[in-house]
Every structure is written in structure tokens, then in C-alpha cells.
């Protein structure tokens, strides 16, 4: 594999990693929005 191709591959790998991170964060954000809406301010009012 030439140096140029290798650099391109690594750049593509990095883009894929960023996309994965964004997808994971979006999923987490949706889940937390549902949770907060469902809890309606009672999130911390519970026993240990």
C-alpha cells in the first residue's frame, strides 16, 4: 500500500470514528430526553 493510499485510509478511518461517536451521542441524547420527559422532575427524588 502506497503512502498516499495509507494516508487516505487513515483519514477515512478517522471519519468513520467521528461518525460512530456522533451516532452514539445522538442515541444517548434521545434516550436521556425520553427519560427526563418521563420523570418530569422526579429524577433525583428516590432512596438509595
Amino acid at each position: 500500500m502506497s503512502k498516499q493510499t495509507d494516508l487516505e485510509f487513515r483519514a477515512a478511518q478517522k471519519r468513520r470514528s467521528v461518525a460512530t461517536a456522533l451516532a452514539l451521542m445522538s442515541f444517548v441524547a434521545i434516550i436521556f430526553v425520553i427519560t427526563i420527559v418521563k420523570l418530569q422532575g422526579h429524577a433525583l427524588n428516590k432512596p438509595f
Binding site: F9, T20, I31, T35, L39, P47, F48
Partner: protein, 332 residues
């Protein structure tokens, strides 16, 4: 014993294709994750109570995420030895598809997210504390310490895999009564015969990676005996929920019937030469033309999965679908 032949960086990259979504799923050990979700859901439903179904679903999701996080952290730490074993060398990190640092980041972020999510959605903070302990136990105590240092690695480390039903139970009720611990005990006692059955016919893999699994460290004959002993304790413990009122008729039938088969298969492994690799194995293979037959170990490994699934599926049917019917005359 902790030294391995390949350094972490030598394990990547060995292939030149971009990681796909299924590689990220593989990083979370989906089969382990599904067992975590399944047993946690059983514990959750057995607990009963008035917990909201939506919060319950989110709690189970959080436990599943926690299981995936622990898997990613394990893959991050074990990348070097995974690359040395045939069974694991195609995992995404040793195969060079996902960088170690990415696996670590994903494991840490998912651990944090799962614990926070469970703290928000569960009945009390106890469940989140238990989940955090479970992830810590699997990633640090088992993966980083026990796995490479003692043949008791999967016995003690098995606690991490045994805790999900307790976490599920605590998520629904905020409590952890005897019945919840009984579910923990079942998985805890199930782990040695299950894992060692695999190790008996994969001992070459573990030896190559210098992992002191029982067949590698103590020999196949000792492993087969210990598997039988654990099975003899496991089966009565798995029937015990019938007497504590947790299991009804369906559970009683499954635990008794499948337990009997489990014992027969464990006895068959004990009487076999499964895992014997050469003449050093107590000198038996040296004087025999017959090659070691690993089929009994393979059969026990396959059935052990069916057995555990059957037990928890019976609880799901009884407590999730309302099919619980106590056996008359039994129960404390």
C-alpha cells in the same frame, strides 16, 4: 504469567478495510450482552412492584449498555492475547478494524452513560451502584487481574456475569432479597462447568496466549472432576427457587428435567478423555491409541447455554406472562 508474545500495537492493523456497524456491535460482545439483558429482565420481572414500564424498559436498556461497555473494555485490555488465540483473533481490535483507544473510549463513555441512565430510571440508586460495581468487577478485577494470573479466573470473575438479575431486581424494587441472590448463585455456579467445557477443547488456544485456564494450569482430568462437582452443587441450587416460592410449576419442570440432563452430560465429560492432549495427561493417552474425544465437552457447553436460557425463560413466562402457579405442598 502476564507476559504475552505480542505487544498491543503489533495487533493492529492487520487488515485494510473500514470498520462497519457490525464491527462496533461485535466490540460490545452481543452474545454476552443478550444474556445480560435476558437475565436482568428476568430479575426485573420476578421483583414485581409498581415500577413504570417505560422506565423499566430504559432500565433494562441501561443494563444492556453496561454489559456492552464491559465487553468493549475487555476487548480493549485483551487485544494482545485475543490476537494470539484462533477463537478471538478476528475480534475487531486484534483484526485492526477498531483502534484500541476507540474501544477504550467507547467502553468508558458507555459505562458512564449506562450507570447514569440506570440511576435516573431505576426505583432506587442501588441498581446503578450495583451496575457500576459489575462493570468494574468485569473490566478491572476479572480482565486486568484474575484472567492472566489464576486458574480460578472464571470462578471468581463469574460473579460479574452473575449479577445482572440482581441489578434488574434492584432496578424494579430497590431491594435485593434472598430470591434475587438465588438467581445470582445459579449463574455463578453455572459459569465454571460452562466455561471449562469450552476451555477443555480450546486449551491449546489459551496455552498459546499464556492464559492459565484450568485445563492449562491443572490438567484436563482435574478440570473434568471440578466441572462435575460444580454441576452437583448447581443443579440443586437451580431447583431451590421452587421451594422459596420464586419458581412455579413451569420452572420446577424445567429445572428438574434440564438439571438431570445437565448432570448426565457432566458425568459423561468426567468419564471421558475430553481435553487430554498428549501423553503428559496422567499418562493415560500415552498408553492408548484412542485420540481424545472432545464431543462430551462440546455437548455440555452447548447444553449449558440451553439450560440457563431455559431456567430464566421459565421465570420470564411465569412472572412476565402471569403463568406462575406454585407447586402445592412446596414453598417456605
Amino acid at each position: 504469567m502476564t507476559q504475552t508474545a505480542a505487544s498491543a500495537d503489533e495487533t493492529q492493523p492487520t487488515t485494510k478495510r473500514l470498520a462497519e456497524w457490525k464491527d462496533y456491535v461485535a466490540l460490545l460482545k452481543p452474545r454476552v450482552m443478550s444474556l445480560v439483558v435476558f437475565t436482568a429482565l428476568s430479575g426485573y420481572l420476578c421483583a414485581g412492584g409498581d415500577h413504570s414500564p417505560i422506565l423499566g424498559a430504559l432500565s433494562i436498556l441501561a443494563i444492556g449498555l453496561g454489559g456492552g461497555a464491559a465487553g468493549a473494555l475487555n476487548m480493549w485490555y485483551d487485544a494482545d492475547i485475543d490476537g494470539l488465540m484462533k477463537r478471538t483473533q478476528m475480534r475487531p481490535v486484534p483484526a485492526g478494524l477498531i483502534h484500541k483507544d476507540e474501544a477504550l473510549a467507547m467502553g468508558l463513555i458507555m459505562s458512564f452513560v449506562s450507570v447514569i441512565l440506570l440511576a435516573l430510571t431505576a426505583k432506587s440508586y442501588l441498581a446503578a451502584a450495583l451496575l457500576a460495581f459489575t462493570i468494574f468487577f468485569y473490566a478491572v478485577v476479572y480482565s486486568m487481574w484474575l484472567k492472566r494470573s489464576t486458574p480460578q479466573n472464571i470462578v471468581i470473575g463469574g460473579l460479574a456475569g452473575a449479577l445482572p438479575p440482581l441489578v434488574g431486581w434492584a432496578a424494579a424494587s430497590g431491594q435485593m432479597p434472598l430470591n434475587a441472590w438465588l438467581l445470582v448463585a445459579i449463574i455463578f455456579l453455572w459459569t465454571p462447568p460452562h466455561s471449562w467445557a469450552l476451555a477443555l477443547y480450546k486449551s491449546g488456544d489459551y496455552a498459546a496466549a499464556n492464559v492459565p485456564m484450568m485445563p492449562v494450569a491443572k490438567g484436563a482430568a482435574s478440570t473434568r472432576l471440578q466441572m462435575l462437582l460444580y454441576s452437583l452443587i448447581l443443579v440443586p441450587v437451580a431447583i431451590a427457587p421452587v421451594f422459596t416460592g420464586l419458581g412455579g410449576m413451569i420452572y420446577g419442570a424445567v429445572s428438574a428435567g434440564a438439571g438431570l440432563v445437565f448432570l448426565l452430560l457432566a458425568w459423561r465429560v468426567y468419564r471421558s478423555r475430553a481435553g487430554d492432549t498428549d501423553g503428559r495427561e496422567e499418562g493415560r493417552a500415552l498408553y492408548s491409541d484412542k485420540a481424545a474425544d472432545n464431543r462430551p465437552a462440546r455437548d455440555l457447553f452447548a447444553f449449558s447455554l440451553l439450560y440457563l436460557t431455559g431456567l430464566f425463560a421459565a421465570l420470564l413466562l411465569e412472572h412476565g406472562l402471569g403463568l406462575y402457579a406454585p407447586i402445592a405442598g412446596l414453598g417456605i
